[in-house]
Symmetry: C2
Subunit: 344 residues, 2 copies
């Protein structure tokens, strides 16, 4: 089968690899229907480190189950499934609490022995806990939005939840990438009265407005913070969705948070310490977030996708075939695309 | 009248000063019955900076109202009152949300024009919003515990609330000073199943056990973290009450927090950035806290004090007169006393 291999900085290739197979009795083998390139894939894509064997990359997919191991009970061959970016057993204490990304037996696709999903097929460990089956199979028009439930929409929703977005509250979203845009959608869905999107790219902010952003701030740093304060009567926002992952974005987050407010950070942090410890303290601002337990959120988000109330799939502004994945990375790296879907 | 003046490092003196008076129509004049020395008073006590005029210090008190300004409606001369360490109007948007320490018109005793409470009397701004009257006057045996509602017990409770202590959960308290000990009491009161107190001083840990600590860890840093992990089956605690205010204490807090856990920090932060950004992120650990809105917590805590269910006043292991305040500071600075009450 064909699969994507990351070799190092700006070097991603699609190769013929041995077919994915079931290796554990709890596995499922999933034929990928749609996968995608995520913002977090760009971090290794930009790292100078060389991986001689290539790393099998990709962690978001929807597909059709081809086979299951002998201990799999809930998932069956033929099921159409959403594959969250983390696999999880579904019954440990952390899964019970809805934090599937801390599952005692879980892990992440594209790490170690578990191959990535930018491929024709993928082995899914702990299939019963991990996969979310869609009875009857989906409307083809919904595939893009369903794919977002495997990562990006759940991640934006996580930022909004951790930032305690609620009806009537003010929210700001830092970063208009696909996660930030889904954060806008999540904030609107949860009833925020004001949603300020901070991003400088017109294609992103236009989609952000379509998703529910009430205000757009195109500056950065202190200037952006000053604009947010002006837009909020000088108090700042109740909820900050930090969707970038840099120290500067965290600094702005603390600056624009209202006293008693909360920051939900979902950008993979590329900073050693959370800045502005003192201002965050004196304002009683809470900082939370991390890898989103998207498996836990599908129950809540799926009906809105199926019934057309949200269309997170609009973050995909480019669709490519598997062989075009290298160009897909280039397009995202050069910001020629917000997010690229792979029609396998 | 006599009042305490802080001149600089290890130099605190009790002087005759002009009598406190009402200067604003919303003020009350309170004759102090009990005040105390707080751990946070030791920070300026240890700073080399010299204050030529002396700073009027002290922020926690209970007392009797002697007079009120013409716009004061709710508080009357003769009322026995608890004076929270922050003054607040009681009706701005932040007070309405229970965050009185962010009051739009509020501030702190012992800062700027507003004198401190380690004195015979104190001017209380915004008396109607700030003061909490106790109808009928209190049982003298309860004075110590009532005094804690002006700061230290409310602060320990804030740490526990922000750390999301709840029935059946595991909690750890870093720092066995008076705030940490009140944190233990608050965690027990909120139903924590396990309460691990991290402190090395036997007098403090003994009181901690009396307050409800189920385990005591006397080591520090990585060693303390390893002991907490061993005490919690390797998972860590749901709730960390950070009652020290150093970067090392924050580092330990992140290390011992369970995935999905929360850290409530109430130690005045003497670090610029919150360390361990990555581990906190990958565990989805939330960091919150700040100056405690103790005014908001009196309604909840007072009945437990009045009916003897909690005795936070036991943190006071030494009682002095106003003239002995310099010795009180020395005793706390040298850890010969946990917390010193001033019987004015």
């Amino acid at each position: 089968m064909r699969a994507t291999l990351m070799f190092g900085a700006k070097d991603v290739q699609v190769h013929a690899v041995p077919d994915a197979t079931i290796t554990q009795p709890t596995d499922a083998l999933v034929r990928v229907v749609r996968s995608c390139i995520c913002g977090s894939d760009l971090w290794p894509y930009r790292e100078p480190e060389r991986r001689a064997q290539g790393q099998r990359i990709g962690h978001a997919a929807i597909g059709i189950v081809e086979a299951v191991g002998r201990d799999v009970e809930r998932i069956r061959a033929g099921d159409f499934v959403i594959m969250p970016f983390a696999f999880s057993d579904g019954h440990c204490e952390f899964c019970d609490e809805g934090l599937h990304t801390a599952c005692r037996h879980g892990g992440f696709f594209g790490v170690g022995e578990v191959a990535g999903a930018q491929a024709e097929a993928v082995r899914v460990p702990l299939a019963d806990g991990t996969l979310y089956p869609l009875p009857g199979g989906p409307d083809p028009a919904l595939l893009a939005s369903l794919l977002t439930l495997s990562d990006v929409m759940g991640t934006g929703h996580h930022a909004a939840r951790v930032a305690r977005v609620a009806p009537g509250k003010r929210a700001a979203v830092i970063g208009g990438g696909a996660v930030g845009l889904c954060g806008v959608l999540a904030a609107r869905r949860l009833g925020a009265e004001q949603i300020i999107l901070i991003d400088r790219h017109p294609d992103r902010t236009a989609l952000g407005r379509a998703f529910g952003a009430t205000d757009v701030v195109t500056s950065r740093g202190d200037e952006a913070a000053a604009e947010v304060m002006a837009l909020t009567g000088g108090s700042g926002v109740h909820s900050v969705l930090e969707c970038v992952g840099t120290g500067d974005a965290m600094r702005t987050s603390v600056e624009i948070a209202r006293p008693g407010g909360a920051i939900g950070r979902v950008g993979v942090p590329h900073y050693d310490a959370i800045p502005e410890s003192g201002p965050a303290f004196y304002k009683n601002v809470t900082v939370g977030g991390g890898p989103a337990p998207v498996r836990a959120y599908i129950d809540e988000l799926l009906p809105d996708v199926l019934e057309g109330r949200i269309e997170p799939g609009r973050v995909f502004d480019r669709v490519i075939g598997l062989d075009e994945v290298p160009e897909g990375y280039r397009a995202m790296d050069e910001r020629r695309a917000i997010k690229v879907m792979i029609d396998v």
